[in-house]
């Protein structure tokens, strides 16, 4: 497990390095032109962002009710990756929007709910950092609420802004746009999973160090 993560990161990094050429070869989208190419990174990041939210919530529930200390490591890893991929989504999105819609930011349901989810991740990590002893349980409680929030935020923001811009390009992609998209998606997912396991490993090793320190003069 340990020895596989590094090559994995290498492979996904190589794939991401190749990606610009593949994306470059993909056809221009007729109306948005070049700027649409942001999409190839934006979409995978957004999906992985949601995946991170799910992983964080589920592992928190397992930690809290199943009393598995290891699950907490996965929760914190997912939260951190959620923050990273959320940032990617939230930064690449406006860069694309600036050209496509003429503004950096629109209070579109998708945008607003992503921003909120990003804030929930940040709040969670702030709690973990500054919460002191016992913050693992508090964080797990918070993460549960955060996950429960996700669908609801979407619904309520959707109703709140009934006039959301119809800009989703995702559904009807031609094959020569789909292939680079899936290529990027695979690369990003691989990176995500390897980073997740690496980050969780960091947390688990930390727990081991703590345990060793505590066991040190017991013997």
């Amino acid at each position: 497990m340990k020895h596989l993560t590094t090559p994995f990161i290498g492979i996904s990094a190589a794939m991401l390095a190749v990606a610009p050429w593949i994306i470059n070869a993909a056809p221009y989208e007729s109306t948005m032109g070049l700027v649409q190419k942001v999409f190839y990174f934006h979409f995978p990041a957004a999906i992985l962002f949601l995946l991170a939210a799910t992983i964080c919530g589920v592992s928190s529930a397992i930690f809290l009710f199943g009393k598995r200390p290891n699950a907490d490591g996965w929760a914190i890893a997912a939260a951190e990756l959620g923050l990273v991929f959320g940032s990617l989504t939230l930064v690449t999105g406006p860069l694309w929007a600036r050209k496509a819609w003429g503004v950096w930011w629109v209070w579109d349901p998708r945008l607003t709910s992503s921003l909120l989810l990003w804030m929930i991740f940040s709040a969670y990590l702030l709690l973990r950092k500054y919460g002191g002893p016992g913050s693992d349980k508090l964080g797990a409680g918070m993460a549960l609420f955060g996950m429960a929030n996700v669908p609801f935020i979407y619904v309520s923001v959707n109703v709140w802004r009934t006039l959301h811009p119809q800009t989703s390009v995702v559904p009807t992609l031609p094959a020569d746009m789909g292939i680079p998209l899936w290529f990027c998606f695979a690369a990003m997912t691989m990176l995500f999973l390897s980073l997740l396991s690496l980050r969780a490993r960091l947390e688990h090793q930390r727990a081991r160090v703590e345990a060793l320190y505590l066991a040190e003069d017991e013997a």
Partner: protein
Amino acid sequence: MSFLRILLVLAALAFGAPPAIAAQQPPPQSEFVPVDEIPPGEQIPAINLVAAAYGFVWVVLLGYVWSIARRLQKVEAELVDLESRKR
């Protein structure tokens, strides 16, 4: 776990292969209908935005990998130290 990973790589490579062929073809006009109008009077050239987006993704991901690696190295060094002290 590791088997799954290998599968993932293979899948990724399988996906990765076709674009090379696709690249040789002249870019055909895209079939799907655009849903939105581009606002007129853009000041920022698209290439800058795309470059900024890709650059940002790269910097953040590299930075994050580096930060995890550094933290992990530190913890594992500590772990090795502790374990050797134990013996």
